[in-house]
Symmetry: C2
Subunit: 685 residues, 2 copies
């Protein structure tokens, strides 16, 4: 049992005073209110080695209320991570390692990027799932190698967000005993008192999810009660735990307990009285007493010792279970198995025309055999997304009889946003490559988490089937029109829309090789013939020439299910003496990274370029002079009739190509590739 | 109390058999399972007049599990709405009024567009809020004009969605007694049994939200229990009610109770045995016994009579309260008050430079005075969004002492997705113009509802402040980069990014005049000077010339907070003898609807066009030859330093403009406006 001295009290007040100094541009309230639980957790409970922040079995800490990051940076500083006092002074300044919200990759010791409310606690569910799975796969009798806890701090804001409801309901279903959440129940929101909008019974709600619910009445002073609650939470085997911790926001400030201390920094005189009250020198700023450093040095030493013991345990493990040990090492070091990519299927025109969702299923099934780190599932659309491979075991608590924690297939439920946020957590844990699946149209539900996959450089695969009006009868409510434009505009996100089997294999190849980039893989419901001009190598460049001609009159550029329609258009144009070439660009993000000369060989000057895609044409200006797509929404009906309605047929395409050719002939000026631009020339300098 | 005869049993089985015939391309299960509650509700409880589906005080019905729409179309047909047997036969066929999911505006009697899971039940919360507010404003002693109920059917899918959790938690807080939800607890999802992913205690969860929870054990046969539950739900004054109804999916089918009947149509022999079992002629399809029509004719007559009584009540009301009566009529007829637009503030360069969020606050405050139908609020960012006007009353249950149902300001809580879905419901009710507010970056959280505002042609205003890297210290997690591209790609959505006060007034003017188009209004945190070249009239065109010159060398085109930076660039260019003109395009959607000649006068041929915007440049190809924006994510720091880091300054802009001018001089070819395209020429024919 943790014991406390007056030095702990000093440490807590030091964190509060330091938070007031650090958060001089905003958000001092939560750090000051959560200082006690943060101190108890980091100095007495958390298992970490600040000298090796990547130790696989470290306890994970997530600050879901990321606006309180001054607190997290202070703790990382005290605990000996690479966060100096100068870094704390540079809080929220350009190019500092202490930005306004925690960003993984920017600051050592930050596990996931938080701040957008509801994401952190959902990431924590993913981190806990990853631990449970890795433990189930690699632990052996006497070798509990992977048994870390995941701790998450959350405010009421995160708990109001739907994404958190989705993730927490699933966490209860999955009985994730190693997940421990601390709810900072300070009853204050930006709009004032939680009474204005958030009066639900949070404890009852989490009980309904199947969580263990604990309660600490005095989170401001009662460190013993906090320690007891954390100790009890660690004992909970088959339930995640949430500790409802009553705190006073901005504790110590003249404005404590009010929403004035939520966002705005403390006034100078307020900081002065606060430091006096805590017995500190009000003239001193950014001060830490030696006793406080001592406590955290001890905690850091304890953690370093813990890792040392783990390393020796792993050494024995390596002797008794060499195969598992080398496999675990490979997974931790994020190396892919030798020759895994040979499992990717290749296709010729003699192969059957099938929906690319079916091609995706074949690819996933092959990859599941050679990539044990590939885990994932669907948001209750398994039979439509075709994401479950033969012989897959479900990831379920063994007591359900439906699977085990060693299972690699997830039943996410109808929870798209939670699914993607959970996948972010799984990817952040390490040793795993997660995927989540839904209809492309409903990837938008997960927008908040998708953008964070990209910002956080996490390799998350989003399998998105039924990727156009080709889904047919379900109609416009389910037919994406704007989705591709949105995803293509997100930095560091690869949106793939394969046209056939080889392009499908390429999309998985690049997605899995891209360790720091998430992908959305869009697949068709309707059947697509295999293209003569495609290959994994070509498609892996993001764009390539499907059919070339000498002195073309026009280039058609397309993606996915419209590419073979363009092939039909080429024939019609040929019949009229119009020479057209065809380009496929399954992935803008990847094609844009190709050398300029290659890109210009695919989309050269000389002839006009017409894009063809069953989406909004928004954004095609970068590749084409004219754009053929959807002007508005789709329609409900058999998919071929829907395509016909919008003239997305060989006839409709060739008709427009003729117009384009005639238009530019009439204009009589040289036609330049849209890839050539004045500002690119700048970058070429 | 409702009484039942064997004819009711026949009617229920008729609905089941008809559903099997109608849903011959999918989703027969839920309609067959929910036939009993649907029959009880529509024939005995619902207050509607199928001859006047727009009667303001009709009970609202929402099918949140919209994939079960065969059921809804059947009920509309039986109840005498304009849905013929031929329309039922055209289910999910091109251009039918019976698409794969219910779409408001397509089918008479459909209140909101549903199918994307979680939306319908959230819309229902909005419909109930609208009823409560309109009732509080217009009802008088003895004149309960607005007292309708809102009924919603939901499956487990909707309840798993985060958006539903957000909306239902708020509904409990608001104590919406007239909201009645029926949960079709059939324990089946697409992935199989709910046991694989959804094991939370739904009843306890809704109790935690403050809902009344009722329970019907046998929803397949026990019509009396269903009627009792509905009657009891209607009595609940201060709590929304959810009825947990145990049903058998696909009741009557050989596959009843399994997930095979969820999506796939029934086989012919299965339909045959079902009709035999129910005592119908298995050879007959799309058959309705006279007794069944009789029941629904009676219900329709009851409803017609109810409206007639309401009309006479309204006549008396008009005599006693002429002012209120004419106001209610105006609101129902969706007419804006005479001269309301005069309230819109105008600005000159002598007015102070302020953040456009502040300009938005001024505009909302003025409009709140002249537009009593304007209601709205923020997702717990009131102090940052600046959306609350002086003297506003909160929409709260009177018992809270925080406001009343007559209040027009909403405390949505940290629930962006729920907020927008609720606003969709408020707009669909009629007589109200709702707005919701958050940071632009978090409009993405509401993506699922935003696209449905647009598809449903609902006038919903989304106030989106902190619209760029200009939000500064909060950093990249809160700085939108891709958001504008996504919103601009959505059909029938107006994304506004005003550059100053006059453009801000214009954005509200057009948003409120656009009865069938939702808007996202993006406002800055940082101060913006008032432009000399702006006016409400010009900006209302969506795009206009801010500064014109003779024989320009280049046109700069920009939006929002970058427009005045471009003005600075113009001076620098002038100093170097480069003649540049400046265009502002606050709204692509609106500018694109202007006459071709006007558009070409704004973005003419002759000189190259350079776009400048602190976002991804994705999509600017439609207006500009070169594009200057963000290559990736923003940064955390004081906003002016962040702009400087990315060279979004007069210097950085002019430097690029010089390159563009030099590049096109060197090329030496005539420069054509990007607005001119071969396919536009098609449309000009």
């Amino acid at each position: 049992m943790a014991s406390f001295t007056e030095h702990d009290n000093t440490a807590i007040n030091t964190i509060r005073a330091l938070a007031a100094d650090v958060a001089n541009s905003g958000h001092p309230g939560a750090p000051m209110g959560m200082a006690p639980v943060a101190h108890v957790l980091f100095s007495k409970f958390m298992n970490f080695n600040s000298k090796n922040p990547k130790w696989i079995n470290r306890d994970r800490f997530v600050l879901s209320n990321g606006h309180a990051c001054a607190l997290q940076y202070i703790l990382l500083h005290l605990a000996g991570y690479k966060v100096s006092m100068d870094d704390l002074k540079a809080f929220r300044q350009i190019d500092s390692i202490t930005p306004g919200h925690p960003e993984v990759g920017v600051t050592e010791g930050i596990e996931v990027t938080t701040g957008p409310l509801g994401q952190g606690i959902s990431n924590a569910v993913g981190l806990a799932i990853a631990q449970a799975h890795m433990g189930a796969v690699f632990n052996k009798d006497g070798f509990s190698l992977i048994d870390n806890y995941t701790y998450v701090f959350t405010g009421d804001g995160c708990l109001q967000e739907g994404v958190a409801s989705e993730a927490c309901s699933l966490a209860g279903h999955l009985k994730l005993g190693n997940l421990i959440a601390v709810y900072d129940d300070n009853r204050i929101t930006i709009d004032g008192d939680t009474a204005v909008s958030f009066t639900e019974d949070v404890e009852q709600r989490f009980k309904s999810y199947g969580w263990e619910v604990l309660h600490v009445e005095n989170g401001d002073d009662d460190v013993a009660a906090i320690a007891d609650a954390l100790a009890q939470a660690k004992k909970s085997q088959d339930k995640p735990t949430i500790i409802n911790l009553k705190t006073t926001i901005g504790f110590g400030s003249l404005k404590q307990g009010g929403h004035d201390v939520h966002g705005a920094p403390l006034k100078k005189d307020d900081i002065t009285q606060l430091k006096k009250k805590f017995g500190f020198n009000p003239e001193e700023t950014f001060a830490v007493p030696k006793e406080t450093y001592d406590i955290y040095n001890a905690a850091a030493e304890k953690g370093a010792k813990a890792e040392a013991e783990w390393q020796s345990l792993f050494k024995q493990y390596s002797e008794e279970y060499p195969k598992e040990a080398s496999e675990l090492t490979r997974r931790i070091e994020n190396r892919l198995p030798e020759g895994w990519e040979k499992a990717l299927p290749t296709y010729t025109t003699s192969d059957a025309a099938v929906g690319s969702r079916k091609l995706s299923e074949t690819t996933i099934s092959k990859l599941a055999e050679v990539l044990p780190e590939l885990v994932g599932g669907s948001a209750d659309l398994t039979g439509s997304n075709l994401t479950r491979w033969k012989g897959a075991e479900d990831f379920q608590h063994p007591s359900t009889g439906l699977g085990s924690y060693a299972g690699r297939y997830f039943r996410f439920g109808v929870r798209e946003h939670g699914m993607t946020a959970i996948c972010n957590g799984i990817a952040a844990y390490g040793g795993l490559i997660p995927f989540g699946a839904t209809f492309l149209n409903f990837v938008s539900y997960a927008a908040g988490a998708v953008r964070l996959s990209a910002l956080s450089h996490l390799r998350v695969l989003n399998v998105a089937t039924h990727d156009s009006i080709g889904l047919g009868e379900d109609g416009p409510t389910h037919q994406p029109v704007e989705t591709a434009a949105w995803l293509r505009a997100i930095p560091n996100l690869a949106f793939w829309r394969p046209a056939d089997g080889n392009e499908t294999s390429a999309s998985y190849l690049v997605s899995i090789l891209s360790q720091h980039t998430p992908s959305v893989l869009a697949f068709s419901r309707q059947n697509l013939p295999q293209l003569a001009g495609s290959s994994i190598e070509k498609a892996a460049k993001g764009g390539y020439v499907v059919e070339e001609v000498e002195n073309p009159d026009v280039t058609l550029v397309s993606t996915g299910s419209e590419v073979y329609l363009c092939l039909g258009a080429l024939e019609k144009l040929k019949a009229q003496g119009i020479k057209a070439r065809l380009v496929s660009i399954p992935c803008f993000e990847v094609f844009n990274t190709q050398p300029r000369d290659y890109k210009l060989s695919v989309l050269p000057s000389g002839a006009p370029i017409l894009s063809v895609e069953a989406y909004s044409t928004f954004g095609w200006g970068q590749y084409s002079h004219d754009h053929f797509g959807l002007q508005a929404w789709g329609a409900s009906g058999p998919y071929d009739q829907v395509y016909k309605k919008f003239e997305l047929t060989p006839e409709g395409i060739s008709k427009r190509a003729e117009k384009v050719v005639a238009f530019y002939k009439k204009r009589g000026q040289p036609v330049f590739s849209p890839l050539i631009s004045a500002l690119d020339d700048i970058s070429d300098e």
